[in-house]
Symmetry: C2
Subunit: 328 residues, 2 copies
Amino acid sequence: MNIVVDAMGGDHAPAAIVEGVVDAVNDMGVHITLVGIQEQIDKELEKFDFDKTHISIVHAPEVVGMHEPATTSIRKKKKSSIAIGINLLKDSAYNAFISAGNTGAVVAASTINLGMLEGVERPAIGLVIPTLEKFSFLIDVGANTDPKPQHLVQSALMANVYAREVLGVENPTVGLLNIGEEAGKGGGFAKEIHKLMEGRLSNFVGNVEANEVFSGKSSCIICDGFVGNVVIKVSEGLMESAGALMKREIKKSPLAMLGAWIMKSKLKHIKRYADYTEYGGAPLLGVNGVVMISHGRSSPKAITNAIKATVKEVEHDILSAMIKEISK
Amino acid sequence: MNIVVDAMGGDHAPAAIVEGVVDAVNDMGVHITLVGIQEQIDKELEKFDFDKTHISIVHAPEVVGMHEPATTSIRKKKKSSIAIGINLLKDSAYNAFISAGNTGAVVAASTINLGMLEGVERPAIGLVIPTLEKFSFLIDVGANTDPKPQHLVQSALMANVYAREVLGVENPTVGLLNIGEEAGKGGGFAKEIHKLMEGRLSNFVGNVEANEVFSGKSSCIICDGFVGNVVIKVSEGLMESAGALMKREIKKSPLAMLGAWIMKSKLKHIKRYADYTEYGGAPLLGVNGVVMISHGRSSPKAITNAIKATVKEVEHDILSAMIKEISK
C-alpha cells in the first residue's frame, strides 16, 4: 500500500506532517509518498530514524496557502503539492491522499481531477466525532453548502459504508440533523430530505437534534455542509472559550489552582474530548479516490491517525463498497 | 407596568414560574398578571409572602403541551394560558408577555393575534449568549427556519435596537454567521445576505464564523432560524456531554475527586457559563408586542431575569424604537 501525503499542508507543515508520517511508517510498515518542496522535506526527514525504502518524495514546487480561494489556487498553481498529490491517485500504484492543507483546494482538486463516484453527484466531508458512548460520523461538514435533497441521501449511503467498514459499527443507523424530533419539524428543506430518507434508507432513525450530536444517538448524522460546518466550529469555539474562562477563574484563587493542579490530567482529557483534530482527519467522500482532509492544526499524532484511517479505507475497498451501496 | 406571565409553561410549571414571579415582585415592585389554571396558581402563591396588590390572576383552563404541534394547539386550544395571555396584550393596560412554554405555540399565537411590527415581515427569536467579554445577541434561534434574505436584514435592525436599549451596548456591531471570514464565502444564501447587509447596515462587520460566536467579536450575530437553533442546541449538548464525561473521569480517581471538590465553585461557574437559560429568556422580535420566550427548563431565577429584561424593553419602548430603526 502506498499513501500519498501532502507535506506542505497545515499550520505546522512540513515538520508535524513529516513527524506523523515517520511514526506511521515505523508503526505500521506502510509506504508513504510525501509530496512537497523536496529540500524542506529532506531537512525534516533527517531528524528521524526509519526504513528509507518506506518513504518516497515527489517534488512539488508550489504551495497553496491555507486561506487562498480554492478555485483560483487550483487553476493557477498546477504544481502545488495538493494538485500533484491528487493527480498521483490516477495511477493505481497510489492508494490514498491525505492533506492538512486548504480544504477548499483539496475538495476542488479532487472533484475536478478524480471525478465523482458512480451514483454520487457531489462530494461531502465526513467527520468522526466523539460521543459519550463511542463515535458518531457527521457528514457533511463543509464540502457542499448548497446541496439538493438527494445529495444528502447519497451522503447517508456513503456514511453507512464508512461507519461499517472503517469505524467498525456493525449495524450503523442514520439520523437527520434537524431542529425538532418529530418528522414534520424543521424547514422545508429538512422535511423534504426526511421524506426521501424514509423511502431510501432501511436504517433511518429519523431526526437527531443538535443537542444529541454528542450523545451517540445515531452512528451517522446527516446534514448540509453549511450546518455541519457550524456544528463543528461552534463546538470548537465553545470548548476554547470555556477553557479560557476556566483558566481565568482558577487564577483568581490559590485553592482552585491547587484543585486544578491535582486534576490536571482529567481536565486535559475533557479538553481532548471535543478536539476532533486528534481523531485522524475527515474523509472526503464521493470523489473517485480515497482522500482524507486533516485539520490545519494537525499534530503529528493526528497525521498518524489519518494514515491509519486511510489504510483501513483502502483495505476495505470502500470506493467499491460505496458504489455497491448506492446502486442497491 | 403590568407584565403577563404564563404560569403553565415549562417543565417546572407552575411552581418555578410562580416562585420567579414572587421574587420579581418583591425585588422590583412590578405588577404581574399570572395566566393559567387558577387553583394551581393559588396553591403555589400560598407558599410565599408578597404584596398581594402586585399579582393578579387570569384564569385559563387549557394548557398547551411542550411538544404539541404549534398550529393545531393554537387552533384547538383557544383557552390556553398562551392564547389568553397573548390576547391580553391587545389591551394597553398590559405591557409584555412571558412564557417558558411551547415555543412554536408562542410564536404562532403572537404572530396571528398581535400581527407584525410595521416594516417587519417575519418574527425572529433572539438570544443573549455569554461571551468571554460580555454578551452577544444571536438572532434568529428558531422562529423562522425558511427565511428570505431581507428577513435577516430586518432581524439585524431589530437586534441593533435590542442590543442598544436592553443590553446597554453603546455602539452595537452586526455580524453575519457564516462558514468563512471572507465576503465571498458560504452558500449562495449567505452571500446574498452579506451583500444586502453591506448596503443597509452601517455597523455591519462582515462574517462571523461559528467558532467566534462565544468570543464576543460582534455584539449582534445574525443567522437563519435553523442554523441559530443548531448553534444553541449543539452548545447545550456539548456542555452536557463534557460535564457527564468529567464526572465519569473524576469518579475513577480519589485524587481527582479531591481536586474537583476543592474547585467545585469554579466548575459550577463554567457550567453556568454556557447555560443561557439563566440569562432571562429569548425575546420574540418582530411581532407587535413585547413577548419573551423562556427556556422550558427555566428556574425561578431565569423567570425573574426574564421579567427584568421585559421591564427594560417596555421602559425603553423598544417597539417604537424598532419601527423607527427599520423605517430609517
